[in-house]
Assembly symmetry: C2
């Protein structure tokens, strides 16, 4: 049995607090860039040469990993322990892409088999849509898949769809457009519905509980539009939900695909939640390749040697930056337009998992936990908020992502280089600019440097690379949650707002809330 202790009770905590961080500008040599690099899945690498660590600090982080039994906790997780203590649930999202340890039985079934079965059901359904066995009432092929979901049922799948859309078009495996309705703002659903041919659209209703207010409201919105178009909604909708939800056996849907309570919303992209829309958009083979990349990355996370475990190493360095160096935020900066919404997914993944003030036993912790996560693609960010990152009064650690090759391959040679080369040159330059800075007598043009970053580099953003990226960050967040001794798999912080919103709608408010309601004309 592993021991669950608060971070500040560990010996490594004290030892790490007594270290001095590294002056990156002084140590960032060619050799260090070559050596401070860990292979990831799908041929990628995680390079941490520009982080404020050295071998001494890495050894202490390794001790921390051992002392906190991080890899053992991961083992317990994938072997089916009740890691989500708040909700008393197993945590099995890794099982949606591979068998990592022992067979896990729950609800009377082998859970790996269950997830594979759902994946196969989705694949079969998607193939029938693609080959015209499943059509609209007129026998016409569906051309658009519209996901109705919010939070984890939206951000992850949307980010992944955008990440592979152009790759799929280029590689001849693009099957149909995907659109997303998430916000309860009626203009969201109305605008999406105005942009599609509803008669040729298949709607994917995604809600684990089957009770998410926004999602059910948007379902009604869509059904209303289908009815007004004289269409039978039950011929246009499928559900992704849990077997116990009210949606599971309803005749309102063409088909239902299942997840379960062991897959948190923000960890559900590799379950049927991402599987349905991605298999419809790109074909089940592409979704399977995405899962293979994630599975390969999950295997790497089992390694106890932190220098060979990119997610674990990334997690530990992040903890060092948060708790020892006092940095409050991390910027995620993919040099890939296809990853435009990947930071928004990571924002949920990280902030909803580890933005907690109590440990897994419900006791207040005395140290900082999850940081703020934000980001935009480079080079766009360079022309936006990088000013603050370079010369602001706070230091923000940076997570770069870059690929050697573009997805579409169309390019132009201007001033002796292609756009792809310019893109890559910029991210290389930024790492060194942030780390090393540049002295200038004019203090307005002075760059202090000492601003840490890491970079994940891949050949191309393929389905496998995307799966590996997703799993890397899921596992990083998991390991950090273990260090902070928080439950990364519940989200009690979202409940109070829901409760109060219901009161507002029922006009059961008084005092300040009542006036705010009046001001907003409710």
């Amino acid at each position: 049995m592993v021991a669950w202790n608060n971070f500040d009770k560990l010996e490594s905590y004290k030892a790490l607090n007594e270290t001095e961080c590294v002056d990156i500008a002084k140590v960032l040599t060619a050799d260090r860039v070559k050596n401070y690099s860990v292979p990831m899945a799908a041929g990628m690498v995680y390079n941490y040469a520009a982080k404020q660590v050295d071998d001494k600090i890495l050894d202490l982080l390794s001790k921390l990993s051992d002392e906190a039994e991080l890899v053992e906790k991961y083992q317990e997780l994938y072997n089916g322990a009740v890691i989500n203590t708040g909700e008393k649930r197993l945590v099995l999202h890794q099982l949606t892409r591979g068998q990592l340890g022992n067979a896990v039985e729950a609800d009377g079934v082998n859970k790996r088999d269950f997830y594979v079965e759902q994946q196969n059901k989705v694949a079969e359904f998607a193939n029938k849509v693609h080959n015209g066995e499943i059509t609209n009432e007129k026998g016409e092929k569906f051309t658009t898949a519209v996901q109705i979901g919010i939070g984890g049922s939206d951000l992850g799948p949307r980010a992944l769809y955008l990440a592979l859309e152009n790759w799929a078009k280029k590689n001849g495996c693009f099957k149909m457009d995907a659109k997303f309705i998430s916000n309860v703002d009626p203009d969201d659903a109305a605008a999406v519905l105005n942009s599609v041919d509803v008669s040729k659209s298949i709607f994917i209703l995604v809600s684990k509980s089957g009770t998410t207010l926004e999602t059910l409201t948007n379902e009604a919105f869509v059904k209303d539009a289908l009815a007004k178009a004289g269409l039978d909604a039950s011929k246009h909708m499928i559900a992704v939900t849990s077997e116990t939800s009210p949606l599971a056996k309803s005749s309102d849907y063409l088909a239902a695909f299942f997840m379960d309570d062991y897959i948190g919303g923000r960890y559900s992209s590799s379950s049927a939640v991402g599987g349905a829309v991605l298999s419809l958009a790109f074909g089940p083979e592409i979704f399977a390749r995405f899962l293979n990349g994630a599975a390969e990355e999950d295997q790497l996370a089992k390694n106890k040697d932190i220098r060979k475990n990119p997610a674990l190493l990334d997690a530990l360095i992040g903890v060092y930056e948060r708790n020892m160096l006092g940095y409050d935020a991390t910027a995620v900066l993919p040099y890939s337009q296809a990853l435009s919404r990947f930071p928004a997914h990571l924002q949920q993944l990280d902030m909803e998992s580890n933005g907690k003030s109590v440990n897994r036993f419900g006791e207040q912790v005395d140290y900082q936990t999850g940081p703020i996560i934000f980001g935009e693609p480079g080079t766009n960010g360079q022309h936006s908020f990088y000013q603050l990152l370079h010369q602001g009064t706070d230091i923000v650690p940076l997570q770069f992502i870059g690929f050697k090759n573009s997805q579409i391959g169309t390019d132009v040679d201007i001033q002796g280089s292609t756009s792809q080369q310019k893109l890559c040159a910029n991210v290389a330059a930024q790492i060194v600019a942030f780390a090393c800075g540049k002295e200038d007598e004019n203090k307005n043009k002075n760059f202090e440097g000492g601003r840490p970053s890491s970079i994940i580099i891949g050949e191309q953003l393929t389905p496998e690379a995307l799966g590996a990226l997703l799993a890397h960050f899921e596992n990083k967040v998991m390991f950090q949650g273990f260090v902070w001794n928080v439950n990364s798999f519940d989200q009690e912080g979202v409940q109070l707002g829901k409760t109060l919103a219901k009161k507002v709608l029922a006009h059961e408010t008084e005092g300040a809330l009542s006036v705010y309601s009046d001001l907003l004309n409710i």
Copy 2:
């Protein structure tokens, strides 16, 4: 003459540091919500009842405003002083929407007249495109406007286009689609070009200097695509640039519209930079209405009474939160899907303006300046990062925005309320949940409260409201820059990365940078 002093040299700085902030949960009464509210332009209000201030702190903030001569500095700015000390330039973006004070002469012309002239030229051009006087080579009407620009030439105009797209469609003034190419990632331009009919597209090249590498590269990308389609690029492109740039008199463009050095990129949305694309998309009348909203808000910013000056008040409370309460970030949370990219624009506006460590004289400052800005639309954010905002270990001040009415007006009534009511109920509920919290014996379900927010409430997101919102935040950032004594109008922090990227592309690197370049295959 006003005096430019560092914040920590002011008497108010000391006085503010000696105050204790307010326990919002205790003071948030119905009366306070009614009273802590300031009218904005376009019928909006700025409500700050859930901020950690009381009349005593507000009086001190008022003294700070007087002592730092904030309104006088604004006066100097719009009357044409050299406020951008780093680049020795006037700062005249407010003049693009109205005459605020004295006539400003520069470059031998009256600058207000110059901006109006450009606005009129854009309007005339847009009208000719709309009525078919200006067409493609075949005499067909243009159907799409594609903006090529990055940073301020992209984020602001894109956010504004998205903000009004559905409103314009609903109100019968939608003229043509707009698309945006910004990133030097070749997949950005390639994907946009694949999504439009280039033969019916008009491309707007936006670069003040005419030398922005990303933008010129993407121009070449577009010209290549036009040539491959057998089209004459000069019949498909217009330029928005400064009169002194290489683009200004080139025969490569159908027309050129001018801005000048007194309009910073991130402040250029109300100049021809935003004017061209918005006038093409929605018609010049809509752009003019947007400018009117901004001009009205600019007038409010002249009021020395902080309780009647929403931008000034917002700025001062933000400074109090940053420097006295030690909060490092601010989240911008519009409950409006149409404002989906408005936080990304504010992120540039704020972080690029005030993310500085030196004052306007190039001397290091000893206090924190601009915070991190991030955000996503509600209710989506509620299902994402709000967990950390409610229960994380750091406090993040929140800027809500909400509207009583949707833009499209299509809605459904589910469980006794419309989607718009649900949307508004959620933002009202969140303010109170964050401020007041809720005790629970189960600490995992406990909400500490004390998390400050303000809200801007409008009737509907119209062109006028959007203009007022934009000006509000521009003026807020300006006032904060005055308090911190930084130059909010240059961006030296972006230079080093550019210089190093050029070295990488010229293969003039050594050491670490050379290895990074190799890893990225440059």
